[in-house]
Amino acid sequence: MAKVEIVFPQMGESIVEGTISKWLKKPGDQVAQDETILEISTDKVDSEVPASTAGVLEAILVPEGERAQVGQKIGVIETDASKVDLSAAAKSATFGKASAVPKASAPVPDKQVQRSTATRQVTLGEPSGRRGSAPVGRGEAHNKKRFFSPLVRSIANQEGVSEAELFYIQGSGEEGRVTKDDLLRYLEGRGQMPMQGGGFQELPKGVRGALAGELSQATKKLESEGKVKIEKMDNMRRVIAERMWESKHLSPHVTSFHEVDVTEMVRYRESHKKTFQDKHDFKLTYTALIAREAVRSLEKFPYLNTSIEGDQVILHKEFNLGMAVSVSPLGLVVPVIKNADEKNMFGIAKAILDLATRGRIRKLTPDELTGSTFSITNLGTFGSSTGTPIINQPNVAILGLGAILKKPGVVQNAKGEDEIQVRHMMTLSLAYDHRLVDGALGGQYLADLANRLEHYEGEDY
């Protein structure tokens, strides 16, 4: 019983107008809900526009081949077939202007008013949760340039409200300007909207917002005074920045530490490093020895070899070990040792050497960079005793290896007496996603691994 306007759909922030490429229906045609009624094109993209409601296409307001602004009325669907006024439709199509919208075929004036208030607007597909919360006024808003104060802009920027979204906010200020209070009210309302897809899918937008910030005036001033030099992040750095931001926001991180006496392991390596090098032509590293044991411990605690999707836990049957490798300058990749549980110590050592070498020169294939189920990072390369790593998504835990440092330690001598000796000590840290992993599990894993390293026995290679 109503006229429903078809408007040129919102297609993203950068798109402000497009062309009507094809009307698939002509005035008078029946349209079913969701049926494609026209095609529009913007640069290199052709889109179908479905009807949001069933009815009869009453008017085409912008004919094929003409341009329209986002939000502009381009057609009208009458949901009540008996009310269709095709003469008005035909006339308006000839003029092809939004201003020529037929007011309706109402026989009496008061009905006319009623119908225009019943008019709804149609957008491409279903509105997203976020946009669904947006108030009215989108039609005109996009055709006009609107002013937003620096304060409103900076709030919007911090809250991840896009320019396009700002346009949808009804302003209460002078000439309909959006005030700080309007924006805050809008944000409040937005917070109450259910997040789509568990919230994670919404993240990237915020990430982009957080990273695409303009330089502040203060910084620009410093630059003009020659006091700072500005560099743009390269692609790899930007991806790292986004991933780290995303992981920290997605997973409540907790880190547990465990100091381990690795003297036995150090002795093993000292006595085997020459034989190993002679036999295989590469160095036996502590990272390889520990990685091997870390996987063995992981097999005992399957909930650390998982990922989370919504409220579901994916237990991985493969043990694919991500190894963080730094790439100069300022880069990081995490190549993956697939099926690490099927490899012996030599196999893991060889895989680490190969992936790390090719990782540093950026020569890894895509298969080698995806699919990790648990990760390890070496924090001790430059002597750091420990650290709190960020989880490599979608893993739920990452093991950090601190430097091996000589410390005085209390040990029992042959006579069963305590005495102080020089011991090789190392601090393991495990950062885990507290959504799934509690301190008990994290602690048990570290204890199991510590026990293996303290009583390190070695294996054939």
Partner: protein, 244 residues
Amino acid sequence: MSSLLVLETPRLNYGESLKLQKAVETLVLQGKITDTLILTEHAPVVTAGRSAKSEDLLLTEEALRERGIDRHEIDRGGEWTYHGPGQVVGYPIFNLKKHGEDVGGFLRNLETVLMKTLEEYGLKASQRKPWTGVWLNPHTTQERKIAAIGVHLKKWVSTHGIALNVNNDPKDFSVIVPCGLKESGVTSMRQELGHDLDLDLIRKMLIANFVEVFRFNAFERISSEVLKNQVSFKSDGTLSAEVI
């Protein structure tokens, strides 16, 4: 974000690839499968996008047939383009509702995927505003296009996609005015680097860059069986697609 599904196919006739795309589009629209990237190669074909002008096709129907070049008018954005052996064609059939409902952002991301892939081979490619696509030396007298983009959207699900000139001869484009751009040349990776490239490796690079740029967790190769027998390949490498 979930895994990217990747379907690599043998060389396809263009008409068959359209059927395959429609079948996958339907499955993605119905939510039966997640975002899927089809990687393929085509027999020689010229295709006209929605904005194509007839005068930009430089050969008659007959001359095209003599040269064994197929011709299709399709529902993607953009003008004329050419596909042929040696070119890597990618059809990202993605639900853009999961990627920010941003058409411009989608195009820029496709360009980024291509630029990153070219970078692996030492080719410094860039965008060429205001046009869509990927160029070498844009805005200079030497500017030449190395990859083309054209997309169709149905309820935010994309079809069509990208074409990267790898081992194909840029001269093959001479049957059309590519993308309606008379003043700009076309090139291929082989022409730039002076040797043939491993198409398989390039497809792998593309997959990795799709995963990275579109922020998937991982990717998963699927076979046509995953499409629930709605699409299958015949033994001669051709395709039979049944659109549900």
